[in-house]
Structure formats: structure tokens, C-alpha cells
């Protein structure tokens, strides 16, 4: 066909047609990036050094935040969006996608992250909520959003608002997988339940779940969420990662589990390996070999309801 490609050094910004794209196209692109993160591990990092460790261990993205959830829990106080300079340093130091968290309902923090070109925004219960009634209207943004959910109704409400990825809430910073398992079983079990319904039963189910009817119908017909479904909250070991994948999660987030452990670098590599080979016990075993201690965990019964991050948002 025509001759040579463009010359070197012609990396212009801004893809074609960006400003004129329709809402449906934007949502397709947002889900597209979520698709590319499937099968991967997204790691919480608090500085550029940690981001590089995560990338070289094989993370498919990093989540930039000021303090990992375990420290937020310990220190208390109001947890907010991370410092812009810190996020920029991380963006400069790695080539994988960079995500960052905003407080639930904090539209202005989300606009800041969008302006920075952050690849995915996590409207997260790990930070102190800014609005205890409303979540962000996420379809209004060019940036994709991920949100936490404990059950199918909550997941579909967030997707209705425009989330392009759902993750379990689990219990962040606990080092305890039990809540992530509960949320995965609940989302995946309710999906199976919806599939078994007859079409006349969908509207009353939608009413009971407090979820948009069209999304309830989508799940009934397709047997899956309309966006990727990831796990987060309490993942601390390679078998924790494999367990989440077995229960139906398409990728995992690891927060405190890596940089609160004794040897973050080898633990990060081990969790990546177990996640890729989640259905091959020999590989998961090999990933566990020679690991230093995991982070300390918290038994759920010792956590007061008011201390549980998963209860933030609805």
C-alpha cells in the first residue's frame, strides 16, 4: 500500500475524534480498558519507588494512594484523594495504567484526576465519604470509574451511574479474605439466581434489589455483569488470589497485602504468578515457596460495625 509509516518522534497526543465521541462510545472505551486489565493484579502503591517495584513484579496497573488501607485504619482521621504531585511522580515512573482514589461523591476530586489523565478513578469506600447520600454521576466523565460492591444490587446501581468496572469491597486493610469471599459469592450467586427467573419476575426483583431494570434484564439474559468483575479487600497471599479467581473474579486488587508484608518484591511476584495460574495448584504452591511473612490480619469479630469500611456507600 502506501509507503512508510510516520517518522520517529511523532508521538502526538490526543487520538482522533476524541472530543466528538458519543456517550455510548465513551462507555465502550471505558469497558475496553477494564477488559485489558483482566487476568491481572492491580497493586496499591504510595510512591514512585513502590510503583516501579509493582510494575517489575508484573502488576497490570497501580493504584496511587497516600496511605495503604491498613495505615488509614490505624491512623484514623479523614482520608482524602492523594496529593497531585505524588500521583504525577507515579505517572512519570511507570508505563502501566495508573489509577487513583476519590472519596465517594466527591465530584471535584474526580474532575482533578480526570484532568491529570489518570487511567481509572476508584470511587472508594477506603477514603472518607464526601457525600453520604449520592455517588458520582460517572457517565458525565471521560475517565473510567471502578466502584466497590457487596452484592448485585449495589453493583448494578454503580453501573447504572456509569462505573465501567466493579470490584468487591471486601474489608480493605484487614488482611482477611472473608469479606471479599462473601461479596463475590453474593454477586455471583445473585447472578445465577437472576438467570433462573422468568422474564415476568424481573421487574419486581429489580424493585427489591433497588437496581435499574435494564441492567437486571441484561444480567438475566447474559449471566454476567455488563462490565468486568474484579475482587478487592483483604487479599494477602497467593492462594487468596487464586481463591478469588475460582469464585469468579476476573482480576484482583491487592492493597495493603503487598507493601505491608515482610518482602514486598517477592510477595508481589508470587501473587502475580498465583493469579495467572489460579487453576493450577502446582503453580500456586510454587508461588508460595520461600515467601517471608504475610501482613498481620484482623479477625472480623474484633472490628466494630462502625470501623468497617465496606459499610460506606450503599
Amino acid at each position: 500500500m502506501t509507503s512508510k509509516g510516520n517518522g520517529p518522534g511523532s508521538n502526538g497526543g490526543g487520538g482522533g475524534g476524541g472530543s466528538e465521541r458519543t456517550g455510548a462510545e465513551t462507555f465502550e472505551l471505558k469497558i475496553g480498558l477494564a477488559e485489558m486489565l483482566k487476568g491481572g493484579v492491580i497493586m496499591d502503591v504510595t510512591d514512585a519507588e513502590q510503583a516501579k517495584i509493582a510494575e517489575s513484579a508484573g502488576a497490570c496497573a497501580v493504584m496511587a494512594l497516600e496511605r495503604v488501607p491498613a495505615d488509614i485504619r490505624r491512623d484514623g482521621g479523614v482520608a482524602r484523594m492523594s496529593a497531585v504531585d505524588m500521583i504525577e511522580q507515579i505517572q512519570r515512573s511507570v508505563s502501566i495504567p495508573v489509577m487513583a482514589k476519590v472519596r465517594i461523591g466527591h465530584i471535584a476530586e474526580a474532575r482533578v484526576l480526570e484532568a491529570m489523565g489518570v487511567d481509572f478513578i476508584d470511587e472508594s469506600e477506603v477514603l472518607t465519604p464526601a457525600d453520604d447520600e449520592n455517588h458520582i454521576a460517572k457517565h458525565d466523565f471521560r475517565s473510567p470509574f471502578v466502584c466497590g460492591a457487596r452484592n448485585l444490587g449495589e453493583a448494578l446501581r454503580r453501573i447504572g451511574e456509569g462505573a465501567a468496572m466493579i470490584r468487591t469491597k471486601g474489608e480493605a486493610g484487614s488482611g482477611n479474605i472473608v469479606e471479599a469471599v462473601r461479596h463475590l459469592r453474593s454477586v455471583c450467586g445473585e447472578i445465577r439466581g437472576l438467570q433462573a427467573l422468568q422474564s415476568e419476575e424481573l421487574m419486581s426483583r429489580a424493585r427489591d434489589m433497588g437496581a435499574p431494570y435494564d441492567l437486571v434484564r441484561f444480567v438475566h439474559e447474559n449471566g454476567r455483569l455488563p462490565v468486568p468483575n474484579f475482587a478487592a479487600g483483604g487479599i494477602a497471599t497467593p492462594p487468596d488470589a487464586a481463591l478469588c479467581r475460582q469464585l469468579g473474579a476476573e482480576a484482583i486488587f491487592v492493597g495493603s497485602g503487598i507493601f505491608k508484608s515482610e518482602d514486598p518484591e517477592s510477595r508481589a511476584r508470587a501473587i502475580v504468578r498465583a493469579n495467572t495460574h489460579w487453576d493450577d495448584p502446582a503453580e500456586v504452591m510454587a508461588a508460595c515457596r520461600g515467601l517471608a511473612s504475610a501482613m498481620e490480619g484482623i479477625e472480623m469479630s474484633t472490628l466494630d460495625e462502625s470501623e468497617r469500611l465496606a459499610n460506606r456507600g450503599w
Binding site: 465521541r21 465502550e28 471505558k30 485489558m36 491481572g40 502475580v272
Partner: protein, 196 residues
Amino acid sequence: MPQVGQGAKPRAGVLGIQGAFQKHLEALERAGAEARLVLHKEDLDGLDALVLPGGESTTMAKGLDRLGLYEPIQAWAHAGGRILGTCAGAILLARSCQNHPVRTLGLIDLRAARNAYGSQVDSFTAVADAVAAPGFEAMRCIFIRAPQLETPGPAVEVLLRVDGLPVLARERNVLVSTFHPELGDDLRVHRALLFD
């Protein structure tokens, strides 16, 4: 060109380290192949075609290295295996890559520039330029943090362009796209891999 026997479905593999491998498995099945994941070098045995999916090229490169898959995939492709790389997969097939380089397989004579259009907010869809190789006309392309293909060598045939830049190219049995045919309903790229 190797011919697929009458009635026998071509056998295709998708590298399953990370990324959109499930979407490619589904697209290959719809295009008429029997598809399975590839994670170990034995999984290449008996395959007619292999897809390196989109995802994160650094993650996949680490995995290829750990699993010792670079040389087996190169040998398999040199023996005539048909191979398609989309987005991150295209980067891995390139002669070299720019902007946070990763180790590549060097199976197609061009250079990939990673994230050349910018971050996720610069992702876009576009209908390819009117000048297209026969069979690929008017293709709608989805670009997500896409790379660009630079300095293609003389043996590389550019099949599609968007805004004048190559987005689909072929050198003998190796096909690369910077967009994501697995995310749409258009199976022409997967059919080209399996049957052309």
C-alpha cells in the same frame, strides 16, 4: 499457504498470561476455530494459529520470561505458525519497542511506540482510512492506550491505516493490529489469521 482440511476446524491458542484473552477465545470460536489458552510451551503443540492479546505488555513480557516462552514461540512461528498480536500483543511481536521498552519476540519488521496516543482519556474509536487492503474495507477500530507502528521494513504490508498511520500490518504469517478486533463483532481480522 497451509490449507485447513475440509470440515476440520483450525486449532488456535491465545496467550493466557494476562489481558483480553477470553474475548479472543470467543472471537476465534465464532470465526470457526477450536480455541484454547496457552500458558506453557507444550500448549503450542498442534496449534495452527496463536493470538497474543491486548493487555499490559510489561506484565506479559514478565510472564513470557518466567515461563520460558520466548524461544518456543519464536521457533513455532518460524516453522510457519500463524500469529496475531493485538495492541500489547503487537508490541511483543515487533522488532523493537520505544517508550519503556520491553523484550520483544522480533517476529515482524517494525517498531512499536507504546502508549503513543496518550492515556486512557485519549482512547478512541475510528473508521479506518478509505485506502485499505481488499477484504478490510471500512473497518471500525477501537483503540485503547494504543501503540503506533513505526518504520515498517520492506517485507511488511500495511493493510489498514487510520489518519494515515498504520494500524493493521502483515509480514508473511505474522499479523499485528494496534486496535482491538476482539472487542467488536467484526471477525475479519480473526478470519484472516485462521484462513488467509
